[in-house]
């Protein structure tokens, strides 16, 4: 084909910058300023893809973000490949590579097209009807085949190489849409230099419809000149932020609007520092919505042939891109606006015929204008079909008689059709803001009604289609009374659901929703099958779903459903408008929160030491904790066995820095402690520690830990690793809201202190040479005492505590000294065989002693008595948080689960944590489960496996044999006291 489909002059393309884009490998000459769609059309290409279900040849329908058909796989080079891009919004650059989707083996020859012939199988709801039997065939046979045959593009295989950023912004006025109404609104709203205005628009440049309006005059200048002047004015105002390529896609509470700004997709070689996209979160004083409207396709048989487009889109391709959609064009319309397209096509020297559903008497000034321009107009004509397969070659039309019945068909030869079934205001954002919609019968559309937030719709998104009226409307919303004189626009249309057709065109496909391959027949079938709610019709037929969300199809569907039900559209209502307005990449939502930045990582002062010594780490909340320290070719079991034995035979070193730490200070500190913990604190002497339990008000255990009274008015409280923020918040809540009279300060000191746990019979011997100002003797510094002093000249808070059952200390030093002191202890401990141990060994050691871990033995429904810790409840205390609930009927009732130990019949068997427990494994299913395993380990020190469990009435079942589930069936275990090692606790005082 040698004839050019590019007009010799005009358009907003940059003819000084010729580029090459590739389509399915074929190089196509284009210019900067082209979109993928205009580049294709300028090379005579309409057929660009296969449809979702029937694999029908499809072309480019529209010129904007509402495009349902022309979805392309786009390769921008540099490992940037992305499926399902609308060709109409992809900006062309040199080297851009485009591919069609959803066909095999090729676009022209697609075996999937057989679906088109099997159309009767793929009617509305075919998923629910066709593949019912045999049931096992669904996952194995039907679904894989359907998934492969249906669908859109191919997901990229590699990780997204791009960077995404996010930004917050505030303004007095946010204007969404930079068409004539939006520009006028922004100009007016920004007149006050103190009023911050953000103007965003989804296109590559502001202007909206002005970008392809070559005929209108505004205040004596061309639309293009008016646009240039308006932009110069806005650009000169420092209080105005203009965001092009930026889609307002979500409208949330309190005028919070999310914008997606696309920064590099249109660039061949973007600067490496640029993010691909930027997510804006704007909080606006008020919002002016100037989001425009969408043209409706006409519904007639085979209306999906490549070359059949929306009429306004023809106008856009001709005027903005100087791209020729066809040489012999038929405009099929039920309204006035398409005449503007016809006139522009005629001016470009193309052959144009207008087929208008309306009678001549119902037409306006557009009719005479067309006749005057020498265009043949066929009023009172319907479209009943098309010719051609991969490109339209003729439009079958028929004159309507006085009763509206079509007469003899007539074929109008053509290579392009522009259709227009009227306009639908883009009320998406108004609706998202929870604003009400009202149906306007004259406009045959839903328009914005009552606003729920401080927002206003202006211009054609509220049904104002005349250019001068749009500008005045925008200006008024922006706070100005500006009016302009402009060329009268061709407005008005006759609502039509599907074009009148001769008889029942049983086997034809007249598409309503192009993207989902939904035909008028499908919608009618759904109604016949009893679907009356529009939301149900949507889900059953899939109309209005997928990437275009029915921008071109929704009103036609609504109207058709209303007609079928014999109701009015307002009685049907509309489907919910949900965000995003157009597809938004996941990358922009994630922003910087990926990889290492997905979550903060907390590490202890001794982390690097542990890493150097080969530790394997486990995640505990945000913390990285040393899990075990394998040496040689040890696996975890071997390492843990060695570490746990070393602690009991010699001495072990453990990083406990992650423990939550809170300082409770002030004259009422002891009283506060008394009210927060179950046990009594008033009489605890300074220099002593106590293990405390903390309940929620419902009486269930919330956290535990050792707290030390350093001075009469200062407590050093420890919490579980994961519980620190929760405990501080809990304390603050009561302090601020229930007991504001208490003079207490709460300070998180978790990060300030490194904690080194030194556990084992040599612990004192190792510490002694490092400490001169604390008497370490048993008499002077007994178990559960605390001293402040210095370790190797570094201030320390020294706790004599043990979570292992061995003689032990927890050495708190300022975090910056943590690794240095750890090293000193490690070096000094060498002659005692000191062994660093990790969290797994810590768990085994504490389980050997039956020490609980909150969150492992407890699950939020466990009381102190359930754990056998009733002695920690200060019964003499008048009140503490949770006390009253310990007397609730269900808490004091018999039959609660209690903490016990389990000894498996097979000592080598380690039970699964979480395994269920029954009394009789032979009882009928469903069995009565009486408890579950909470902790389970192989214990080298005990010489067998050990387990803790919560069992109904567990303390009465000591020595009873129970049965525990395992992957291989039930196994027997005997209930024992929950302590497996040194039950007398003599080692604590070694």
């Amino acid at each position: 084909m040698t004839r050019s489909y590019r007009l010799p002059n005009g358009g907003r393309i940059d003819r000084s910058k010729p580029i090459i884009v590739h389509f399915n490998g074929r190089p196509l000459p284009a210019f900067e300023g082209d979109t993928a769609a205009s580049a294709l059309i300028a090379n005579g290409i309409h057929f660009v893809g296969r449809s979702f279900k029937y694999h029908r040849p499809r072309g480019i329908l529209s010129h904007g973000s509402d495009e349902p058909n022309a979805l392309l796989d786009v390769d921008r080079g540099r490992d940037r490949r992305d499926p399902n891009n609308r060709a109409t919004v992809v900006e062309a650059f040199d080297g851009l590579s485009l591919s069609s989707q959803n066909h095999w083996p090729s676009l022209g020859l697609d075996v999937g097209e057989i679906n088109n012939v099997l159309g009767s199988v793929f009617v509305a709801g075919f998923y629910y009807k066709t593949f019912m039997w045999p049931p096992t065939f669904w996952t194995k046979v039907y679904e894989p085949i359907i998934r492969r045959a249906a669908g859109l593009g191919e997901v990229p295989k590699k990780p997204d190489p791009d960077r995404y950023t996010q930004r917050h912004a505030h303004c007095e006025t946010l204007v969404v849409g930079a068409g004539p109404a939006g520009l006028a609104a922004a100009l007016a709203a920004s007149e006050n230099p103190k009023s911050r205005v953000i103007l965003c628009d989804e296109q590559s440049e502001p202007g909206g419809t002005l970008l392809h309006d070559m005929t209108s005059q505004i205040d004596g200048v061309s639309a293009q000149q008016w646009l240039t002047k308006a932009m110069a004015e806005l650009n000169a105002r420092p209080n105005v932020t203009i965001l092009s390529r930026t889609t307002a896609f979500g409208y949330f509470n309190h005028n919070h609007i999310a914008l997606a700004e696309r920064i590099t997709d249109h660039l061949r070689q973007p600067h490496a520092d640029l993010p691909r996209e930027r997510l804006w979160q704007v909080r606006a004083g008020r919002v002016i919505l100037a989001t425009g409207s969408h043209e409706r396709p006409l519904v007639f048989a085979n209306n999906d042939r490549p070359g059949i487009m929306l009429a306004e889109s023809l106008r856009c391709f001709i005027n903005r891109y100087a791209a020729v959609p066809g040489r012999q064009v038929v405009i099929a319309t039920s309204g006035a606006s398409a005449y503007a397209a016809a006139l522009d096509l005629k001016s470009a020297g193309l052959d144009v015929t207008i087929v208008d559903l309306r009678r001549e008497a119902d037409c306006g000034l557009e009719f005479k204008a067309a006749i005057h321009a020498g265009i043949e107009v066929l009023p009172a004509h319907t479209v009943i079909g098309t010719k051609g397969r991969t490109r339209v070659s003729g439009l079958i039309v028929a004159k309507l008689d006085d009763n509206g019945h079509p007469g003899a068909p007539r074929v109008l030869a053509c290579d392009c059709v522009g259709m227009s079934g009227g306009w639908t205001p883009a009320v998406h954002l108004h609706s998202q803001s929870r604003g009400k919609l009202t149906f306007d019968t004259l406009l045959d559309a839903f328009i914005p009604g009552h606003s729920a937030q401080n927002e206003t719709s202006v211009g054609s998104c509220r049904g104002i289609y005349d250019l001068a009226a749009c500008i005045a409307d925008g200006a008024q919303a922006g706070g100005s009374q500006l009016t302009v004189a402009a060329t009268n626009s061709f407005v008005g249309f006759q609502a039509v659901r599907s074009m009148p057709a001769p008889t029942d065109q049983g086997s034809v496909k007249a598409f309503i929703d192009f993207q989902n391959d939904v035909t008028a027949k499908d919608v009618k079938l759904a109604v016949r099958e009893g679907f009356e709610s529009i939301e149900h019709v949507k889900r059953y037929t899939t109309t209005g779903m997928a990437t275009d969300q029915g921008k071109t199809s929704n009103m036609n569907t609504l109207g058709l459903v209303a007609d079928e039900l014999g109701k009015q559209i307002p009685q049907i209502g509309t489907t919910t408008f949900r965000l995003p307005y157009t597809p938004v990449s996941f990358g922009s939502f994630a922003g910087a929160n990926r990889g290492d930045l997905f979550d903060p990582t907390r590490i202890t002062p001794m982390h690097d030491w542990a890493a150097r010594h080969g530790a394997t780490f486990e995640d505990v909340g945000l913390w990285k904790r040393a899990w075990y320290y394998p040496t040689g070719d040890e696996d975890m079991n071997a390492a843990v066995d060695r570490e746990t034995r070393a602690v009991r035979t010699n001495v072990g070193l453990f990083d406990a820095s992650t423990l939550g730490k809170i300082e409770v200070s002030g004259p009422d500190a002891a009283e506060f402690m008394n009210r927060i913990y179950t046990n009594a604190w008033a009489k605890l002497e300074p220099g002593r520690c106590r293990y405390g339990l903390m309940l929620k008000e419902d009486g269930y255990i919330m956290d535990d830990g050792v707290a030390a009274r350093l001075t009469p008015n200062l407590f050093h409280v420890t919490t579980t690793t994961g519980g620190a923020p929760r405990v501080l918040a809990h304390m603050e809540d009561y302090l601020q809201t229930e007991w504001p009279d208490l003079k207490v300060f709460l300070t998180s000191i978790t990060e300030q202190w490194a904690v080194i746990a030194l556990q084992g019979r040599h612990a004192r011997d190792i510490l002694a040479p490092l400490i001169s100002d604390i008497d370490l003797t048993e008499q002077a510094f007994p178990h559960m005492a605390v001293r402040t002093g210095h370790i190797s000249d570094v201030p320390c808070r020294l706790f004599r505590v043990s979570f292992t059952g061995e003689l032990g200390y927890e050495i708190n030093v300022p975090a910056d000294y943590g690794e240095a002191i750890w090293n000193m202890i490690y070096d000094g401990g060498q002659r005692f065989g000191i062994t660093p141990y990790g969290t797994e060994a810590m768990h085994v050691l504490r389980a050997e002693k039956g020490f609980i871990i909150v969150g492992q033995e407890t699950d939020g429904t466990v009381t102190p008595d359930d754990l056998g810790l009733g002695g920690l409840v200060g019964k003499a205390k008048r009140d503490f948080v949770g006390k009253r609930s310990l007397g609730r009927p269900d808490v004091v009732a018999a039959g609660r689960k209690q903490l016990v130990g389990l000894r498996t019949a097979n000592p080598a068997l380690v039970l699964d944590e979480g395994a269920q427990i029954v009394t009789d494994p032979n009882q009928p299913i469903p069995m009565k489960m009486i408890g579950h395993v909470t902790s389970s380990y192989m214990s080298g020190n005990v010489g067998r496996s050990i387990a803790l469990a919560m069992v109904t009435d567990g303390r009465r079942r000591i020595n009873e044999r129970l049965h525990v589930t395992t992957p291989a069936g039930f196994t027997e275990a005997t209930v024992v006291e929950p302590i497996f090692f040194d039950p007398e606790g003599v080692r604590l005082h070694a």
Binding site: F252, N253, A452, N454, A729, D733, T737, P740, S885
Partner: protein, 99 residues
């Protein structure tokens, strides 16, 4: 995302806050004096009105202080905020567009 006016810090985005449920439910001064029903009432029972609802909010990622807010549960509009300990303000609902 709501815009919440912390009485101590000013208007901030909702992500900085945590909601703590219904406000103005004082902890009984002597819980032991309450029978099971009365205690259960305090512990578990909350109103869930359609319309104005006084709620506890904590400015978790800000000043960390608790305060109260009256929120319209239908429109999600926060009508007013006030410091913890202050009485619930007497409000006549403004049904016009919200900020």
């Amino acid at each position: 995302m709501l815009l919440i006016n912390c009485p101590h810090c000013g208007p901030r985005a909702e992500i900085e806050f945590r909601c703590g449920g219904e406000a103005h439910i004082a902890r009984p001064t002597d819980p032991s004096a309450l029978d099971d029903t009365a205690w259960a009432q305090f512990l578990f029972y909350r109103s869930s009105p359609k319309g104005e609802h006084a709620e506890r909010w904590n400015h978790t990622h800000g000043c960390q202080r608790w305060f109260n807010a009256v929120r319209d549960t239908v429109s999600d509009r926060i009508i007013t905020t006030y410091k913890s300990g202050e009485p619930r303000p007497d409000i006549t609902t403004n049904t016009t567009g919200e900020r």
